[in-house]
C-alpha cells in the first residue's frame, strides 16, 4: 500500500517542519516553566489555610480542569481582542493559554508533592528561625519537587502532545507545519505520518526518562 507514497517530500519540507517543531517545543517549555511556577503558587495558596486565597485557588484549579483545553484555546484567542482592541497573534495567545491551563494541573501535582513532605520538616525549618518563604524555598519545595519529578514530567509529555491543538487557531506548530507542507506538495498523508513519528520519538524518549527517574527516586527513598 506504500507504493503510491512519496516520502521524498520529507527532506524538502524539513526546514519548515523544523520551525514548527521549534515552536511546539518553545510552547511546551514556556507552559511547563510558567505552569509549574504558577501551579506551585496555587498549591501553596490552597494549602495556606486562608479562606480567601484557598477559595480562589480551588475555584481556579477546579474550573480549568473541568473545561476542555481546545475550548480554552479558542475562547482566549477570540476574547482577548475584544478586551484589548487588537489581536495578539495565535502564537502568543497559545503561550498564555497553555501556561494558565497547565498551571491548574501542575498545581494539583505540587499540592500532592508538598503534602508528601512530613509536617515535621516544616517545623524543623521554622525551629531554626526560617520564615514561611525560606522554609518553603529551602526545605519543602525542593523535596516536593524531587518526589514529584516523574509525575511532573509525565504531565509535560501530555502537554507536549496537547500543543498540537493550537493548530485550531492557526499557530504554526509541528502539526500545522506538516499540514501546510503536505498541502503544498500535495502529500498530506506522508506529512501526517512524518509528524506522528516525530511526536512519538520525543514522547517515547521522555517516557523512558520518566521510567529511569522513577527507579532512581525509589532508590533514594
Amino acid at each position: 500500500m506504500f507504493s503510491n507514497f512519496d516520502f521524498g517530500v520529507i527532506p524538502l519540507s524539513l526546514p519548515f517542519i523544523w520551525q514548527g517543531l521549534l515552536y511546539s517545543l518553545k510552547l511546551t517549555a514556556t507552559a511547563m516553566t510558567g505552569g509549574i511556577i504558577l501551579g506551585t503558587l496555587l498549591a501553596l495558596a490552597r494549602l495556606s489555610g486562608g479562606v480567601v486565597l484557598g477559595t480562589i485557588s480551588t475555584f481556579y484549579v477546579n474550573t480549568l480542569r473541568s473545561i476542555p483545553l481546545l475550548m480554552v484555546i479558542l475562547w482566549f484567542f477570540f476574547l482577548i481582542p475584544i478586551f484589548t482592541g487588537s489581536p495578539m497573534g495565535a502564537e502568543k495567545s497559545a503561550m498564555i493559554t497553555f501556561t494558565l491551563f497547565e498551571a491548574a494541573f501542575y498545581a494539583e501535582i505540587m499540592r500532592a508533592g508538598i503534602q508528601s513532605v512530613s509536617r515535621g520538616q516544616i517545623n524543623a525549618g521554622y525551629a531554626i528561625g526560617m520564615t514561611y518563604w525560606q522554609t518553603m524555598g529551602h526545605v519543602i519545595l525542593p523535596q516536593a519537587f524531587r518526589n514529584m519529578l516523574p509525575v511532573l514530567l509525565t504531565q509535560t509529555i501530555i502537554l507536549f502532545q496537547d500543543t498540537s491543538l493550537v493548530y485550531a487557531i492557526g499557530a504554526k506548530d509541528l502539526l500545522k507545519a506538516a499540514e501546510i507542507t503536505g498541502k503544498n506538495y500535495n502529500r498530506p498523508v506522508e506529512m501526517y505520518i512524518f509528524s506522528a513519528v516525530v511526536y512519538f520519538a520525543i514522547c517515547f524518549s521522555l517516557s523512558m526518562l520518566v521510567k529511569h527517574l522513577n527507579k532512581r527516586i525509589a532508590i533514594i527513598r
Partner: protein
C-alpha cells in the same frame, strides 16, 4: 528564661492543655514527663510557637510568644529545638544541614558557617560524616547532628521533644551523652522524655503532666523520693520497677 503562665490550648472542642504554669530559669534543666497523650509534646511545641495557644501566655527571655507583634522567626532562631524524628533536611548534606540556618537566618558567611558546623560535628563525634546525607546515617547519628544543627544557631535555650523515643535502645546513650554534656555546660534545657535515668542525672526539676495538666512540678529529689500526687506515684512505680 522560659515562663509558661496559665496556658490552655484546644484542638477544636478538645482541650489538650489546661492551665499549665511553670518556669525554667537560666541554666536550669527541666524534664517534662508523663503518659502518652498527656500534652507534654504539645506544651513544648507551644514554647517556640510551633503550636498556637488560645489562653494564657508564654515568654522566652522576656519576649511574649503569643503576641502578634513578636517576630517569631527571630525568636525561634535563638531557641534550639530537637525533634523525636530528627527532622534533618534529607536533600542536604550533613554540613549543609548545619550551615543553612546560619547563612539564611543569621546572615553568616558560607565559610564562617562551614567552620562552625565542622566544629560542632567534631563535638558530637561525627566530623568524618560531614559530606554524607542524613539517609546514610543511623538514627543516633542523625539525632546528634540534629542537636548540632540546633547549637549552630547559638541558642539561649534548648527544647528537646522526646529526643530518644524513636531510637534503637543501643543508640539512646550516644544521644543522652551529648545532652548530659550540654547540661553540665550550663545550657538551659526543657526536655520531654521518658528517660528517668537522664532526669536523675542532670535535671534540676521534673514536671509531671497528665491529661493536659501539670500535676506535679517539683525538685528532682522530691519527685523521685516522694511525689505528692497519686498519679505521679503510679506513673513512677510503673516505669521504674522494670
Amino acid at each position: 528564661m522560659i515562663e509558661i503562665n496559665k496556658v490552655s490550648k484546644w484542638y477544636g472542642s478538645f482541650q489538650v492543655l489546661t492551665d499549665c504554669t511553670t518556669q525554667i530559669a537560666k541554666g536550669e534543666v527541666v524534664v517534662v514527663c508523663g503518659p502518652s497523650g498527656s500534652g507534654k509534646s504539645t506544651l513544648i511545641k507551644c514554647v517556640n510557637g510551633l503550636e498556637p495557644i488560645q489562653q494564657g501566655n508564654i515568654a522566652v527571655n522576656g519576649t511574649a510568644i503569643n503576641d502578634p507583634k513578636t517576630d517569631l522567626p527571630k525568636l525561634r532562631a535563638r531557641v534550639g529545638m530537637v525533634f523525636q524524628h530528627f527532622e534533618l533536611f534529607p536533600h542536604m548534606s550533613i554540613i549543609k544541614n548545619l550551615s543553612i540556618g546560619q547563612v539564611k537566618v543569621l546572615g553568616r558567611s558560607e565559610d564562617e558557617a562551614h567552620a562552625k558546623g565542622m566544629k560542632l560535628l567534631e563535638r558530637v563525634g561525627l566530623k568524618a560524616h560531614a559530606n554524607k546525607y542524613p539517609g546514610e546515617m543511623s538514627g543516633g547519628q542523625q539525632q546528634r547532628v540534629a542537636i548540632a544543627r540546633a547549637l549552630s544557631m547559638d541558642p539561649i535555650c534548648m527544647l528537646f521533644d522526646e529526643p530518644t523515643s524513636a531510637l534503637d535502645p543501643e543508640m539512646i546513650n550516644e544521644v543522652l551523652d551529648v545532652m548530659v554534656e550540654l547540661a553540665h555546660e550550663g545550657m538551659t534545657m526543657m526536655v520531654v522524655t521518658h528517660e528517668m535515668g537522664f532526669a536523675r542525672k542532670v535535671a534540676n526539676r521534673v514536671v509531671f503532666m497528665d491529661q493536659g495538666k501539670i500535676v506535679e512540678d517539683a525538685a528532682k529529689e522530691e519527685f523521685f523520693g516522694q511525689p505528692r500526687s497519686e498519679r505521679a506515684q503510679q506513673f513512677l512505680s510503673k516505669i521504674l520497677h522494670h
